[in-house]
């Protein structure tokens, strides 16, 4: 008997320890309904602001308690995918990057909210915002964090080289760049984010669309290996060879571009909105404060001729309700609340609103006065967003993108010709599309 007691007592200790560890975390909120949100911590409003929004919602909806969790961007996709493996799912509301919408829609992770949208939303939110969360005509979430890549230039360097205005075409940029190089002002006029990562696709799409081209046709079949695609990629390769584009660009992601530009080692750069404040206004982070300006993203002559005024990449995120959620209606209420005009206006300091009418009249003035960066960023946002293009909404985008990233690297490092690299990538897309 002593033996059995001995063993049992050990087991009890073990169970106690596990239980203690289990209770070491926050106890579960015991409301009638709990909604769990998965978001990202480096996006938009600070966690404090997000928690304030959540608190407001909880106060206004006594039957519902919202809990929000943050993970890093790299972990977000896989966390969402893993969470879908249980019923009910681990989260009711998730933050989705626009390149995942097609995949998640095809896997039936997200709730179709097309019929839940009201007229106000449809008219007053930017069309390019809806392009993010809409797949095959159905909408799967509310656009929330709208961002695009902007064209930055160093006014001082341009003036020294004798230019008063920024280029409007890429051909102009190359010409200006050569003058800047000859005058010894910078070694490589423009730095890009062409590392083997999604960042390279962003730049490729910007340039391709600026040429009047597209990654896929209406049927979703890859056409990036057509004449326009090859021309665009070849232009990229040539710009490195001629020394206009910084050769280290093939290892750069957005932060590297920011560093190079902020050290005055580039006259031009393409980057997301976040770079403006740091490069133009933050003396600790930048040596070129006061010299930074933004302009509409240039296009190619051919694109201009085809009627393309400007083209840039749209890199946004949306909030969606998980299809399998136990409380889809309550979840949708929260998503609507989070993305509503009032909330977005209030917290616009870190997140520019998706509502077009916030960029008119008094609302616009209020926005521009929010912080030292907004007088420049808000008008630029308004100008550029309508010309932002989304990446293809194909379910196999993650895998396909990797193949295309590889193709860009191979061409840029001279391992393959532009045509060969793009053809090989297109073959992968066709294979993926057939599955």
């Amino acid at each position: 008997m002593k033996r059995i007691h001995g063993v049992l007592s050990v087991l009890l200790v073990a169970i106690f320890l596990i239980g203690a560890a289990g209770c070491a975390s926050q106890p579960q909120a015991d409301g009638p309904k709990t909604l769990r949100v998965l978001a990202m911590q480096q996006a938009g409003p600070t966690p404090d602001e997000m928690n304030a929004i959540v608190a407001k919602f909880n106060a206004a909806n006594p039957n519902v308690t919202v809990e929000i969790e943050y993970v890093s961007y790299d972990a977000l996709h896989d966390k969402i995918a893993t969470a879908m493996s249980t019923t009910p799912p681990a989260y009711d509301i998730v933050l989705v990057d626009d390149i995942w919408y097609a995949e998640f829609a095809a896997n039936e992770y997200l709730l179709d909210v097309t019929d839940r949208l009201d007229a106000n939303m449809k008219t007053n939110i930017f069309d390019s915002a809806w392009a993010i969360t809409t797949v095959n005509g159905k909408t799967y979430g509310m656009p929330w964090l709208l961002d695009a890549k902007y064209f930055y230039y160093n006014e001082a360097i341009l003036k020294e080289a004798g230019f008063d205005a920024p280029p409007t075409t890429w051909e102009e940029l190359v010409a200006m760049g050569q003058v800047i190089k000859e005058k010894g002002l910078v070694e490589y006029p423009i730095a890009w984010s062409w590392a083997q990562a999604e960042a390279a696709i962003c730049d490729f799409v910007t340039l391709l669309e600026g040429n009047g081209g597209k990654l896929v046709d209406e049927a979703g079949k890859p056409i990036f290996n057509n004449e326009l695609g090859v021309k665009t990629l070849q232009w990229m390769v040539d710009s490195v060879e001629s020394g206009v584009s910084n050769p280290a660009s093939i290892t750069y992601v957005e932060e590297d571009v920011r560093n190079v530009f902020s050290q005055g080692k580039a006259a031009f750069a393409s980057n997301w909105l976040y770079m403006y404040e740091l490069a133009a206004l933050n003396a600790e982070e930048s040596q070129v404060t006061g010299q930074v300006k933004m302009a509409l993203m240039p296009v190619f002559e051919a694109g201009k001729a085809a009627g393309v005024q400007s083209a840039t990449i749209n890199g946004s995120m949306g909030f969606s309700v998980v299809g399998k959620s136990a409380n889809p209606d309550a979840a949708w209420e929260f998503v609507k609340f989070l993305t509503s005009e009032e909330i977005q206006k209030e917290y616009a300091a870190h997140l520019l609103p998706v509502w077009a009418n916030n960029y008119e009249g008094d609302a616009l003035t209020a926005l521009e006065a929010l912080n030292p960066a907004t007088p420049a960023t808000v008008p630029m946002f308004k100008e550029q967003i309508p010309f932002s293009k989304v990446r293809p909404k194909v379910p196999y985008y993650s895998e396909g993108s990797k193949a295309l990233q590889l193709a860009l690297q191979e061409a840029l490092t001279g391992q393959k010709t532009a045509q060969q690299a793009l053809d090989d990538a297109a073959a992968v897309w066709v294979e993926l599309g057939a599955k």
Partner: protein, 305 residues
Amino acid sequence: MSVLAKPRKTLTLARQEIRDGLWLLAPSMLVILIITVLPVIFTLVLSFFDTPLSNPVPRDFVGFGNYLEFLSSQQFWQAIWRTLYFTLVSVGLELVLGLGIALLIHARPPGWNFLRTSLIIPWAVPTVVNGAMWRWIYNADYGALNGVLLSLGIIEKYQAWMIDPIVAMNLVIVADIWHSVPFIAIILQAALAGIPVELEEAAAVDGANAFQRFLLIRLPLLQPAILVALVVRTVEAFRVFDIIYVITSGGPAFGTVTISYLTYLESFTYGHLGSGSALSFLISAFTLVMALVYIKILYRPENRA
């Protein structure tokens, strides 16, 4: 009666021992069964179905379809090749370097104790920290590797080491070697210390030089230790994942996608749980075979003390 009494007593004693044993083993066996054996069986079952991550239930039976699919996939064979390369090069170099360091310590130069203590540090540093540290060292624009090579005049300009798949793979191997050599060095050094001094002295008296002593006395006596180190490290190297996730995330150009990383991609990033389960099964099978080899060799009569 006395003839019968003795056997009964022995039987009861033996049975009692078994019963005691079962009680003592019950908690552990239960835990292992629930946490390891059952999940593995579930994974095996899943591997015979076309299972998406969003609905991990056995539904669309495909038999050996998943297995056949990756056996005919180029990505799979490339991953196997890379894993073999990683394993052979890393374990091979670790063994050689580890043996060298063990011999060095064994020679008792002044400060040998400090050396042995210092070896513990790379071994104890967590894998993620190790990965982050080397990633920063290899950084194309600001890394220490570039800095050192530039200062020594070996390179003219900073190089982007990690964009070439082959270079990247080898640099990951370097990071892994730094972390794992101490393990082998310490084991081998302890084994060396266990070799009776008289054996070596006798050989020296007989006229054997250092190299002969090494080959004919030390090496054979080190065999069990080398085997242990070899097998443990081989199994670990074959399953490598964490360090790849942190340093290269499988890139560049899939150049560091090992079989474990491919399994992760299939299961979580692409959501093909059926294929992922089949792949993870392959890894389990290989490591189990290695484990059996290990056990067979270690439990040979001459190796058991």
